[in-house]
Amino acid sequence: MSVNADQVRHVARLARLALGNDEIDRMVPELNNILGWVEQLGEVDTDGVEPLTAVIENHLRLRDDVVNDGNVRDDILENAPDAQHGFFAVPKVIE
C-alpha cells in the first residue's frame, strides 16, 4: 500500500496538523518509504497468533470507588495558555 498527497492531507487532518502543500509533498515519499519498509511484516505467518496486549504479566488493580476531583483545580490551570473563571478558555465554538 502506498499513499498519495490527498491521503496524506486526510491523515494530517485526522491528526490535527496544519501542513502546507510543500510539507505534504515532502512527506509523501517519506511516508511511502517507511510504510514500504514495515510491510515486510506481511512475510510473517501470524495465523492463530494473539496480538500482544500486556508485555509483562500484571493484574489491573481496582481503586476504591470514591469520587475525588483531586482538589487541584488551580494546579491544573496553572500552565493553561488562557484560563478564565476557573476554566480553560478556547476560541468560540458556537456561532
Binding site: M1, N33, V44, L52, V55, I56, R63
Partner: protein, 493 residues
C-alpha cells in the same frame, strides 16, 4: 576541573560519608562543571540552587547521622521527567515554558533518597530520535572526538543524548534516562558509560511524558555498573499512580552484585550477526563472550528467529502509541497556543500542533495516525502486535537454554551530526540490537567494551529474563572489570 567531578557515585558516597569532602563541595564542583560545559548543550535548564539546597540538607543529615541512600549526590534529570517548578519541555517547542506543579515518581524517588538536581537534560523531541538532533534546543555535542585529527562534531546518541554527554563529560556523576527502543543503551554505548533499562513496570511512568506507553521505561545512566545499581534501587518501586507499575519489592541490587558467573549460561543469538556491521563491532562482541567465559559463564548459541522483524514492528507500534499520546498537545491545557486570525477551535488545534512539533515528531504522528486509521488498523497495528507476541515468544524459548543474552549495543560507534538526519530509515536502523528487548519488556544494559580504531567507545549489550536485573548487572560488572575501560574524552569544551 575539580577532582570531584572525576569520581563515581560510589566514590562520592564513600568520600562524603567518610568526611573527605562535604556535599556542598560536591554540588559546587558539578555546578561549575555544568557551566563550563555549556558548549556541549547537554543541559536545557541549570538548577544550581536545587543542587546546593539538597547538598546542604545532606551535610546537615551527616551531622545527625540520618543519611539517605543518595545523600550528597547531585544528578541530572532528563527533560522528559516532570520536575516541580522547573521547566519540563521534553525537548519540544510545544511545551515551552511548561512548569509542572507536580514531580514525576522517579525523580521524586531520587530526591526522597537525598539526591540533588543539577538541571534538566537535553533530549530528542519527545524522545523520538537516536542522535539528539530532533531537540528543539538543538543537538547535544558528544564530548568524544575521532582520533583522526579532524574536528567533526559527533552525536552522543539519543534520545537520552544530554544525559549521556553529561555523564561522559563529568557534568553529572549520574543521570536519569528513558528507553523506549534503545534510548538509554545506545547513547550509553556511544559515550563510553553504562546504562540499564529495567523490566517494563519496575520504574513508574507517572510524570514521565508519554511517548509509547507500552515500551517507555526509565533507567539510570552512570559511569559504572555499581553506580547504576545504586541509582536504580532508588528509582524503582511500586506506584499506584501507574497502572502498569509492578507491585513487587525492589531487590537490593547493589548488595547482590557478584562477578562470579559460574553456572550461568549466556546465549549468543545468531540473528544478531548482520551484514554490513563493521568488523570492530563483531570483534568487541567476541571479546565480550571471552570475558564472560573468563567469569565462569558457559556460552551457548541461540536463535531469535523474528529479530529482523523487530524494527518494523517497533515502527508501527511506537508511532501508533505516540500519535495517541501526543493528541493531548492541543493548545488548551499547557504549552504553546497558536490561534490563526479568525480561526475556530479546530484551526487552533491544527495550527498549534503544526507550529509546536518538529519534523520527526510530525512524521511519527502521521505514521501512527495512518496505521490506526479506519481500514488499515488490522493490516498494520494488529499485525505488528501479533509479531510482537512472536518476538516475545522467541525470548521465552531462548531463556529455556540460557540465563542471559549477549549482543553488541549498536551497529556502529557514534556517527557525525547531520550524517543520518536526511534518511529516517538509516537513523531507525541504529536501534536494531536494542529494540527487540524493548518489545519484550526485558531488562537490558549497555556497558563500555573498548574503543574502536577511531578512538570511539563501543558498547556491549546484555539482555536478561524479566525481573532479572541482577543477572544483567552482574554480567555487566564482570565485563566492566575485565574491560578495564577508564577512557575519558579529552576535554575540548
Amino acid at each position: 576541573m575539580s577532582e570531584l567531578t572525576l569520581k563515581t557515585i560510589t566514590e562520592l558516597r564513600e568520600g562524603f560519608r567518610g568526611g573527605d569532602f562535604s556535599a556542598r563541595e560536591i554540588a559546587e564542583a558539578f555546578n561549575a562543571a555544568v557551566v563550563a560545559g555549556r558548549q556541549l548543550n547537554a543541559y536545557t535548564v541549570e538548577t544550581p540552587e536545587l543542587a546546593l539546597e539538597a547538598a546542604d540538607a545532606a551535610d546537615r543529615d551527616r551531622t545527625t547521622n540520618s543519611l539517605k541512600p543518595l545523600s550528597g549526590i547531585p544528578l541530572g534529570i532528563k527533560d522528559l521527567f516532570a520536575t516541580v517548578g522547573v521547566d519540563s519541555t521534553s525537548g519540544s517547542n510545544i511545551l515551552k515554558g511548561f512548569k509542572p506543579t507536580y514531580e514525576s515518581t522517579v525523580s521524586g524517588n531520587l530526591k526522597a533518597a537525598g539526591a540533588g538536581m543539577l538541571g534538566k537534560l537535553n533530549m530528542d523531541e519527545f524522545a523520538m530520535g537516536s542522535s539528539n538532533e530532533t531537540s528543539a534546543y538543538g543537538p547535544v555535542m558528544s564530548p568524544w572526538k575521532r582520533n583522526d585529527g579532524g574536528n567533526a562534531a559527533l552525536t552522543p546518541g539519543g534520545s537520552s543524548g544530554g544525559s549521556a554527554a553529561a555523564v561522559s563529560a563529568g557534568l553529572a556523576p549520574g543521570v536519569t534516562g528513558t528507553d523506549t527502543g534503545g534510548s538509554i543503551r545506545q547513547p550509553a554505548a556511544f559515550t563510553g558509560i553504562s546504562g540499564i533499562k529495567p523490566t517494563y513496570g519496575r520504574c513508574s511512568r507517572w510524570g514521565i511524558v508519554a511517548f509509547a506507553s507500552s515500551l517507555d521505561q526509565a533507567g539510570p545512566m552512570a559511569r559504572t555498573v555499581r553506580d547504576c545499581a545504586i541509582m536504580l534501587e532508588a528509582m524503582a518501586g511500586f506506584d499506584p499512580k501507574d497502572a502498569t507499575s509492578l507491585n513487587l519489592p525492589v531487590p537490593q541490587w547493589e548488595a547482590g552484585l557478584t562477578t562470579d558467573l559460574r553456572g550461568k549460561k549466556v546465549g549468543i543469538p545468531k540473528e544478531y550477526r548482520i551484514d554490513g556491521v563493521p568488523d570492530e563491532i563483531n570483534a568487541i562482541w567476541d571479546q565480550g563472550i571471552e570475558w564472560l567465559k573468563d567469569a565462569g559463564a558457559e556460552v551457548v548459541q541461540i536463535s531469535l528467529p523474528h529479530t529482523k522483524y523487530a524494527l518494523p514492528t517497533y515502527y508501527i507500534i511506537a508511532p501508533a502509541e505516540a500519535s495517541s499520546n501526543l493528541a493531548r498537545y492541543d493548545g488548551v491545557r499547557y504549552g504553546l497556543r497558536d490561534t490563526p486570525e479568525g480561526g475556530n477551535l479546530d484551526a487552533m488545534y491544527a495550527a498549534t500542533r503544526a507550529a509546536g512539533f518538529g519534523a520527526e515528531v510530525k512524521r511519527r504522528i502521521m505514521i501512527g495516525t495512518y496505521v490506526l486509521s479506519a481500514g488499515f488498523y488490522d493490516a498494520y497495528f494488529t499485525k505488528a502486535q501479533k509479531v510482537r507476541t512472536l518476538i516475545k515468544r522467541d525470548f521465552a524459548e531462548a531463556f529455556k537454554q540460557c540465563d542471559l543474552i549477549l549482543t553488541p549495543t549498536a551497529p556502529s560507534a557514534a556517527f557525525g551530526l547531520n550524517e543520518k538526519m536526511a534518511d529516517p530509515l538509516a537513523m531507525y536502523l541504529n536501534d536494531v540490537f536494542a529494540v527487540p528487548a524493548s518489545l519484550a519488556g526485558l531488562p537490558a544494559m549497555s556497558v563500555p567494551g573498548g574503543l574502536d580504531s577511531q578512538g570511539l567507545p563501543l558498547g556491549i549489550h546484555l539482555i536478561g529474563r524479566e525481573l532479572d536485573e541482577q543477572g544483567v548487572l552482574n554480567a555487566g560488572l564482570a565485563i566492566e572489570e575485565r574491560a578495564g575501560f577508564t577512557h575519558r574524552p579529552k576535554r575540548w569544551w
